[in-house]
């Protein structure tokens, strides 16, 4: 077994000790720096063809090693992966961090980027604090000069207390001087002044204090050696002054969301109507004709046309609308605006005493509640994760959007976009309301803390990326909706095929006499206070517990199979309108709003419940679902009862 002695400890060129004796070895020098500072160009210029690639010990990270022939001796130069910090975020960075801590290496050459000296100096400070001897190679000086930012090299060397060599791997400038400095440094190791050396373990133990001290040192070094530079106001700054204003920001966000729903509902309405009529008319007729030619049994036609086609076809008719909405959301995200929404919302949340960091999982919840629950992991404390996890099911996911759109188009055709927008506002109000209740009852000891987010600059959306994003989202929605609905429709169809009343055969039974009809009719009277005392609506809501996408599919299936309920050529919306007109006593608008509120909050889907149980246990899951259902029922009842009086 061999061991490498630390040059810093011996104060002499490295020696290789072994059981058989002592032999000299080439000193090992690390080339360290931020990404994209010309480090590898410098490595290639210094080692020329005398280099090879090895894996870092115990990893698959490739490292380039080479022999550097300086004026006095050959040294082994190791080109480490670029990193901004010794606190690693990736395997590559961990290799760089480990190598700096490894006493087997004799010296570090830290590459400083003259155009972004502060970032480079911070890494240099970390290496110096770890107790490593170090010299600096200053690159990108020509670019820095062009920007009026070129540091004073002599002043920099003086304030750092180590040799600083201006070097250019492309032109060869400074390479000999760098070699000479390395040779000298191997004989008399230089250490950065102004930075207190600590062992690696100590550094890790108090990282925050360490960072604060090092940044003060970086600022002082910059003041001594770099011309002052303050970035000017950019387009992003000007926009942010408006959009991040505490008063204008929330209003602007509401206006943006309203605009998105107006756009999606107005543009998509004719496409949706066309798709719905095609599914219910020519496509259904065509499928029936094909099955008739094939002499398929009646139950198969019932299943294929009344079950699968009605359910899947209705939901898939929402694809144009979803594509438009996904395009709008993707565009907003890629411009950098949605990250600002988190900041604006954070302020509002903290004003209400809720933790600002909860905003990120809640925003994810507007896409899907299940990953949003997983995203509560960004919160540092278990009770914060619990509180946020209980609120996530109140965020209105994409699946619920399809229900709102059907109801808004059917009952409020002139203002569908505004009604859908109102449902999202209602979702936010529910989150805040339940959050306040939960905060003042269950986890009382949570201290609200701010969300500090790294805001990107604004940028124009990249059309190709945008198109790919929309395609990916639409494909995902279609796949999920299709899969869930086919399974649900099959289950519902089976229930509709089982007679529980009258003298009927299996698969030849009126829906009202089936197991499905019996359950639905049993549940329907409970919806009377909401103005929705209809078995098809009750059944759809029960089925929606499996997944909210199923609500529309189940409604379509019930109407398609129950031929006597309405004109078979009518759209689902027209049939639903006729039903709700009857159940609400002529107050269909109020009942539709109540149905939307109920759908928003009555109970999470099964996948969400399962994830809640996994994260928080049965007790909290059952408690939250029970409270949510009770609240939804009371709110929907209030909406209908007040609405019918207006």
């Amino acid at each position: 077994m061999t061991t490498l002695n630390n040059c810093h400890e011996t104060g002499s060129p490295a020696t290789l000790s072994s059981a058989t004796g002592t032999a000299t070895r080439a000193p090992s020098v690390l080339l360290v720096g931020n990404p994209n500072v010309g480090k590898s160009t410098l490595f290639n210029a210094l080692t020329k063809a005398r280099q090879h690639v090895v894996n870092a010990p115990g990893t698959t990270v490739a490292l380039a090693e080479g022999t550097w022939r300086t004026d006095r001796a050959d040294v082994t130069l190791v080109d480490l992966p670029g990193t901004y910090s010794l606190i690693a975020r990736s395997p590559d960075e961990q290799v760089a961090s480990d190598a700096v801590s490894d006493p087997a290496h004799d010296l570090a050459v830290v590459v400083l980027d003259a155009t972004a000296l502060s970032r480079s100096l911070y890494l240099l400070g970390q290496i110096a604090r770890a107790g490593r001897p170090v010299i600096a190679a200053l690159t990108m000086v020509d670019l820095a000069e062009a920007r009026g930012l070129a540091p004073d090299v002599e002043a920099l060397s003086r304030v750092l207390g180590i040799p600083v060599i201006e070097a250019n791997g492309r032109s060869g400038k400074g390479l000999d001087a760098l070699g000479a400095a390395v040779s000298s440094a191997l004989e008399t190791p230089p250490y950065v002044t102004g930075v207190t050396q600590r062992g690696t373990e100590e550094v890790i133990g108090d990282r925050l204090t360490d960072a604060q001290e090092l940044f003060d040192w970086v600022e002082a070094v910059g003041d001594a050696a770099v011309p002052p530079s303050v970035p000017g106001a950019t387009f992003t700054d000007k926009i942010d002054r408006v959009l991040l204003n505490p008063w204008v920001g929330p209003a602007a966000f509401l206006a943006v969301v309203w605009g998105v729903f107006q756009l999606t509902t107005v543009v998509a309405a004719p496409l949706m109507d066309g798709a719905a009529r095609a599914v219910g008319g020519p496509i259904a007729d065509g499928l029936s004709a094909v099955l008739a030619v094939l002499r398929a049994p009646a139950w198969l036609e019932s299943f294929a046309v009344g079950g699968v086609l009605a359910g899947v076809g209705t939901v898939l008719s929402f694809i144009p609308l979803m594509a438009i909405m996904f395009a709008a959301v993707s565009a907003l995200e890629s411009t950098g605006y949605l990250a600002r929404v988190a900041v604006v919302a954070d302020r509002a949340m903290r004003a209400l005493g809720l933790d600002g960091r909860a905003m990120l999982p809640l925003i994810v919840g507007f896409g899907c509640n299940v990953p949003a629950l997983s995203a509560t992991a960004v919160l540092p404390h278990a009770r914060q994760r619990l509180l946020t996890g209980l609120l996530v099911p109140l965020t209105s996911c994409t699946a619920r959007l399809a229900v709102y759109l059907l109801l808004a188009h059917t009952f409020f055709p002139g203002s569908a976009g505004t009604v859908v927008f109102a449902m999202y506002v209602a979702s936010v109000v529910l989150v805040i309301g339940w959050g306040l209740i939960a905060r003042h009852t269950v986890p009382r000891d949570i201290t609200p803390e701010p969300l500090i987010i790294a805001l990107p600059d604004y940028q124009w959306p990249h059309l190709r990326t945008l198109a790919f994003s929309v395609w990916t989202r639409v494909a995902s929605f279609t796949r999920k909706a299709g899969t869930v609905i086919v399974v649900a429709v099959m289950a519902l169809w089976l229930l509709q095929a089982i007679p529980v009343r009258g003298d009927h055969q299996i698969a030849d039974v009126p829906v009202a006499d089936s197991a499905y009809g019996a359950v639905a009719q049993g549940a329907a009277p409970a919806l009377k206070p909401i103005g929705l005392d209809d078995w098809r609506i009750a059944a759809a809501l029960v089925a929606g517990v499996a997944a909210k996408e199923v609500v529309i599919g189940a409604l379509a299936q019930s109407y398609a199979i129950d031929d006597t309920s309405a004109d078979a050529q009518s759209t689902l919306g027209e049939k639903l309108r006729a039903t709700v007109d009857e159940t609400s006593g002529g107050h269909a608008g109020a009942a539709a709003l109540a149905l939307m509120i109920f759908t928003l909050s009555y109970v999470p889907c099964l996948a969400t419940l399962a994830e809640q149980r996994r994260l928080f246990g049965w007790r909290w899951t059952a408690l939250a679902a029970g409270a949510q259902f009770t609240g939804a029922y009371l709110m929907a009842t209030a909406v209908f009862q007040v609405g019918r009086l207006l």
Binding site: R119, S229, V230, F366, G367, I452, L455, L466, V474, S476
Partner: protein, 72 residues
């Protein structure tokens, strides 16, 4: 938090980008960016996509409607 690190963090928590924080404090942009990066490594600053975890729209239908994952 103290010093230039604390000052930048204060500006970031007020909803400023690193660039705006640098301008407000009269410091180089890369210094503010370095503070934001280091604070992120220390878990004090998050990025919008931090909530996404391993969620990737291509492989997860649940992420289809997520407002935070357009570029992932």
């Amino acid at each position: 938090m103290s010093g230039v690190f604390g000052s930048v963090m204060e500006r970031l928590s007020a909803g400023e980008s690193p660039r705006a924080a640098a301008r407000s404090l009269g410091i180089p942009l890369d210094l503010a960016q370095a503070v934001a990066d280091q604070a992120s490594r220390l878990g004090l600053v998050v990025s919008a996509s931090a909530a996404c975890g391993t969620c990737v729209p291509k492989s997860s239908p649940a992420c289809a409607g997520c407002p935070l994952v357009a570029d992932r």
